[in-house]
Symmetry: C2
Subunit: 134 residues, 2 copies
């Protein structure tokens, strides 16, 4: 079921500083920051040969990463996103196996314009998993 790792997301308190550190200190290519008010984040991507790292900064009052950064103010690895071919089939398989899908269980349109679901970290060794249909 799991396909490629689409991205690894890192929550950061200061996107400009994080992008500068990946560009300058680590010598990576980083896209320009993009504000996504409907998702409560500003994002920039570290582009790597085989996948990407998504740097996420909270945007607005109800950012989904605000609680994470309250607990870890300097930031940290937030989730890992895997590609799946059919997100409804994936969801049904997960529910049948007893795994919990966050929210109302229906795929939403994610930050990349594709249908996504998030799985409960307690069912996967403390790791927040996003599935994205590609």
């Amino acid at each position: 079921m799991l396909g490629r790792v689409n991205h690894v997301a890192i929550a950061v308190p200061d996107l400009e500083a994080a992008a500068a550190s990946y560009r300058g200190t680590l010598g990576a290519s980083v896209t320009e920051p993009q504000a996504l008010p409907e998702h409560g984040v500003t994002v920039a991507f570290v582009t790597l040969p085989n996948t990407k790292v998504e740097l996420l900064e909270p945007l607005g009052d109800a950012s989904p990463i605000a609680a994470f950064l309250e607990k870890s103010p300097s930031g940290g690895m937030h989730h890992i996103c895997y590609e799946v071919e059919d997100i409804v089939a994936a969801r049904d398989r997960l529910l049948q196996a007893g795994a919990r899908v966050l929210g109302d269980g229906n795929p939403k349109i994610g930050a990349h314009g594709k249908p996504v679901l998030f799985l409960h970290p307690k069912d996967f060794q403390g790791t927040l998993i996003e599935l994205e249909e590609v």
Copy 2:
């Protein structure tokens, strides 16, 4: 400088249970567990089309992931490993930029038999970064 994401490492309290969950619930291919006493971990890899996820269970009394699991008993994302072409050149560039390399600053032979270095999470938004020469 940063090349491919070689792996994303997840610390888990029970490797057998974690492997079963990635195999069964998530439908991924997982290698057989391998004990690496000299590194204080038992590892299994979730093999994905573009990279891998390294599941790490503590082994022995002085495991480098013991403290992490004390803080997060159910597990969690532990580090991300990027490939570099020349680890000594990478190290020198990082030190010049003011970043901290863990340990004595010299590359060690890592769990995959290749020279590796770890960078201080405080210099990279709370993310523990491993560099591996390939």
